[in-house]
Amino acid sequence: MTEKQPIVVMKGITIEFPGVKALDGVDLRLFPGEVHALMGENGAGKSTMIKALTGVYKIDAGSITVDGKPTQLNGTLDAQNAGIATVYQEVNLCTNLSIGENVMLGHEKRGPLGIDWRKTHAEARKHLAKMGLEYLDPRAPLSSISIAMQQLVAIARAMVIDAKVLILDEPTSSLDANEVQDLFEIMRKVRDSGVAILFVSHFLDQIYEITDRLTILRNGQFIKEVMTRETPRDELIGMMIGKSADELSQIGAKKARREIKPGEKPVVSIRQLGRKGQIEPTDQDVYAGEVVGFAGLLGSGRTELGRLMFGADKPDHGEYYLNGKKISVDSPYTALKNKIAYSTENRRDEGIIGDLTVRQNMLIALQATRGMFKPIPKKEADEIVDKYMKELNVRPPDPNKLIKNLSGGNQQKVLIARWLAVHPELLILDEPTRGIDIGAKAEIQQKVLELAAQGMGVVFISSELEEVVRLSDTITVLKDHKKIANIVNDDTVSQATIVETIANSGKEA
């Protein structure tokens, strides 16, 4: 084992962003014929590390050696030329072109009259066949096959350049169990041909099934490189989180559950609310002071259900009740009028308005509910802004700064303040803690619990099961655009319960 030479050696990689050290002296070694997983929590630096290896980010310190040669990677083309190919979580192919063209783009076979399409498609077919995809017609449009198949096509494309290293960044996050097995089969084929695979996944089962070696990162720092077979799960989780297994059960302590009294009426109740192609008709109750967690994989419909409850997408089916009274919510405007607020998962594009100040961002929803001819009196506005700046601990504490200059966590706090200012009865938070630092994350989680304690109904949508389980009173589990379970979150419920619920529903189908 030890005489094997690594194909890629990254040493002491440091990447700094304004104000943050995203990576601090991280090492990574990739060996031919091995699947290597990069492990760590969100924000540990996994994707930054991958972007360093694919030439997207420039490294501030450290060295990258490929095949024994020190290598500078200034862009994706450099990485490709060095034999490093990448398949991203969101498939980066062109859906307007055919399958074969996508496989061969930039490597088309040329004859005397330019591209020879017959040869090119034959070559594409050959590469697809190597992956066991010979049944795909290279002339069919890429948009005619499922996302999972597109991912496999993306791998076939990666192999066209004779890659020595294949990076798979969370390829399984939107796949079902069978599709994951198809992917693994292809990964084994590629691995056995002597390629080094770098694999990122949040699913521990998958890690133990497919990988040979692990590198663990935490908060941008290198923790350890281990062999998968020799590392028990709890030890791995301990290294990722930075706590021993015993300590883990301590901080995982859940909040006291809010019991729903018999006969109590929910604040918001939806019956068979749905929208074709996005979410199947769904029932859901949210009680005052209750935190309802939406759990599910990417593409499960968790965001779609949240958007539907806010009218951001117009429901084409079902009924909506607020405090027992039937209402119609078909746009964010009507939702706001009914005291229902939604904070988007897409903070940058749908949340903040970057060129307005913190103060303006905070007041914009409240102003919208009043109408444009009734400005908020300056004194009242000052009080509101002042209150939420303090309450949510927005840093820096200057409401006249442009919001785009704040960190992600503080932008998120301002967005929450924006919705709190309209005093909603139901607050839907979609991924409020994604991509923000650990301190702000804890503050936001704490705020969610406080709001519920004050009697607000909260829907908490997150891809991190850990926080869903810790914060929610009940958990709605979604899969394939459908609500598949409603779990009362008592002491017997853990992340594993939810994972099993999702996994088992797949087997029945």
Partner: protein, 340 residues
């Protein structure tokens, strides 16, 4: 071209139809062009005459070239608004030089170089300064038009025996009919336009640069992550469209025999209309050069047809507007069908 084969693709439901769906707007352009010809023939009896067809091509060779030029940026989701103004500046400079006694071959080269220079400038603005193609070419449009006006606001006529006019002259009679209106003739301008169309077709469908253009239209970030030379391709696109605009200017000026700083006002929009009518989707990714050529022909035949119908010349633009509207609605319908 791509004929959707259904070779051993099991359980992947009828998708031959999908590729055809992309071609519907282009096919519609063909059908409409033929219908317009037939309608003209039936009602006025002159449209099938070879003389009519000949002059349709000779008079609108420049528009065909501009339509091909405009297809490239639009396929990437961009646009080149400067083509009309480039026609003006190159025409004015060309006429000035000819009148000053410069030899015709030199004048041609200078005109093409001026076009290329504006294309390069647009490329630099778009790629190095991260400007939207709309804004970048809007500014080069005003720049080119402004320089043309500074150089001269007079109507400049081509001098006698200039070695330039033969490009646009009467050309050659292929079928010499006793009735002049049945002559089939062709001139160098039309041949240049045909060469440009063939060039555009080969560029887009048989070179890697062409495929990169489609890929950028599908998703620029994907194209970049696939390691395609996106930046270089963007330069190629705007250099080509601007140089072709200069070529269109040569063909047009040679045909008309004079030039003014106001020539080509609004031609960029005629070119966009041709491209859209020809079935290229304005947001990029789908479309064909041949479609744009048909779009240009539809646009060209509109004028005689509406005049013969007694529509006042002022109202022709309304007809163009309605046609664009119809085609865009058609495209939307196709895109929706594809998503289903």
């Amino acid at each position: 071209m791509t004929t959707a084969t259904t070779v051993n693709a099991p359980a992947k439901k009828a998708k031959g139809g999908k590729f055809n769906a992309q071609m519907i707007p282009t096919i519609a352009a063909v059908v409409i062009f033929i219908l317009m010809l037939i309608m003209g023939q039936v009602m006025f009896g002159t449209y099938f005459r070879l003389g009519f067809i000949s002059s349709l091509f000779i008079d609108h060779a420049y528009l065909i070239i501009l339509a091909v030029a405009m297809t490239l940026p639009i396929l990437t989701g961009g646009i080149d608004l400067s083509v009309g103004a480039i026609v003006a500046i190159t025409a004015v400079v060309g006429m000035k030089l000819l009148n000053g006694g410069a030899p015709a071959p030199l004048v041609l080269v200078i005109m093409l170089l001026i076009g290329a220079a504006f294309g390069l400038l647009a490329g630099v603005l778009i790629e190095e300064f991260n400007m939207q193609p709309f804004i970048a070419t809007l500014s080069t449009m005003f720049l080119a038009r402004g320089i043309a006006s500074i150089i001269s606001t007079d109507s400049l006529t081509m001098p006698e025996n200039n070695g330039f006019g033969w490009i646009g002259g009467e050309g050659w009679k292929i079928i010499d009919n006793p009735k002049i209106s049945n002559d089939l003739s062709i001139n160098l301008g039309v041949i240049i336009a045909v060469v440009v169309v063939v060039f555009g077709y080969i560029l887009l469908h048989h070179t890697r640069t062409g495929r990169t253009i489609y890929a950028i239209g599908g998703s620029r970030s994907s194209a970049e992550l696939m390691g395609l030379p996106v930046k270089r391709t963007q330069y190629v696109i705007y250099l080509t469209s601007a140089t072709l605009a200069a070529l269109a200017s040569i063909v047009y000026t040679a045909n008309i025999g004079s030039a003014k700083n106001t020539v080509g006002v609004g031609w960029e929009l005629d070119a966009v209309a041709s491209v859209v009518i020809g079935g290229t989707i304005i947001t990029g990714g789908f479309g064909y050069v041949l479609g744009s050529v048909l779009g240009a022909l539809v646009r060209s035949i509109l004028e005689p047809l509406t005049t013969d119908f007694g529509v006042p010349a002022e109202a022709v633009q309304i007809v163009v507007g309605i046609m664009i509207l119809v085609f865009v609605v058609l495209q939307r319908a196709v895109t929706v069908l594809q998503k289903e």
